[in-house]
Amino acid sequence: MNWSVLTLVGADQQGIVAAVSKLLFEADCQLAEASMMRLGGNFAIMLRVGHDASADLKTVLAPVVDGMKLHLHLDEDVPASPRHIEPDVHITVYGADRTGIVAQVTSLLASAGLNIIDLETAVGGSAEQPIYIMSIEGHAQQGIEALRNAIKNLADDIEISLTEIDTLRA
């Protein structure tokens, strides 16, 4: 079995996931991890798919790609089992919306060893006073203390909190 990662992007419309997974199923493909999101009327899904060496995923997915006007990006021959990284820290950031807030926070955290596993941001508040909210799950490669020290240098108008994730094993 070969493994590929496919990324599909397009305008959000009902039934994309069902249509994609049906075509893959009918072509005897195997689905592994998938992540999907909607953003401002757009849709993106990433899927890791197992398939025969002979399978041509572009042809398999052509009906939905053409029919729903999606963009398909294919990364072939990715490792079958990517190393599973467990998040050990959760970080919430918020502040008045201004340019550079994400860059500032993430580069500070990266320099202190944070490997971001999952990041989500949103804009809330009113039109006159928007606030920026960001939620990050990651792995602290240099330990949580290094992150705590790093965020002390952050501007005062940005609120940031850091929670250790203690995964229960039972």
């Binding site: 998040p87 959760h90 919430t92 909190s161 850091l162 203690d166 995964t167 229960l168 094993r169």
Partner: protein
């Protein structure tokens, strides 16, 4: 003593209800010793429930006293016929399970619980547990009712509602 085989999902045995223990005899005590040895053989397992080794009796072991990051706890507990009588608050946390290898996910649990149980000497206890220990107890008691943390998964997108934050 011996390390017992741990059942992994999709074993149907994990979805069965466990029965109330009627008497604590030598046979049960020997089983509890094996159960403990099995728990200790797992990587960093803070708890184990009897049905995970295919014994459908209401027995669990919980011990969160050796966590890397210390938390409030009642030490090593062998619980027979445990029963939660009060639930309070909600907290989200990440869980994994000996019976669900290679996967962890977010689960909402009560932040504080009150529970009754009998220990292996027959003595009855009522304790109030909170935080990580309360989470471990709720996870184990679920096993007695044929539930896995997979039955309670919530989306990672719920993270913004986490209650406890430390700066």
């Amino acid at each position: 003593m011996s390390v017992l085989d741990i059942l992994a999902y999709p074993s149907e045995q994990l979805k069965k209800l466990s029965e109330t223990v009627e008497q604590v005899d030598e046979r049960l005590l020997a089983f509890i010793r094996d159960l403990e040895e099995t728990r200790l053989s797992g990587p960093g397992a803070v708890g184990i429930a009897a049905p995970q080794v295919n014994v459908h009796q209401r027995v669990v072991i919980v011990d969160v006293s050796n966590m890397k990051k210390p938390c409030e706890n009642h030490g090593h507990m062998i619980m027979i016929n445990p029963e939660i009588t009060e639930w309070d608050g909600m907290a989200m946390g990440r869980e994994g399970c000996l019976s669900v290898p290679d996967f962890t996910g977010n689960v909402i649990r009560a932040e504080r619980i009150v529970l009754n149980y009998m220990d292996e000497t027959g003595e009855k206890h009522e304790i109030t547990s909170s935080g990580f220990e309360a989470r471990a107890i709720q996870h184990e008691l679920d096993h007695l009712d044929g539930l896995l943390f997979l039955d309670r998964l919530v989306s990672r997108r719920t993270d913004l509602f986490q209650r406890k934050i430390y700066k």
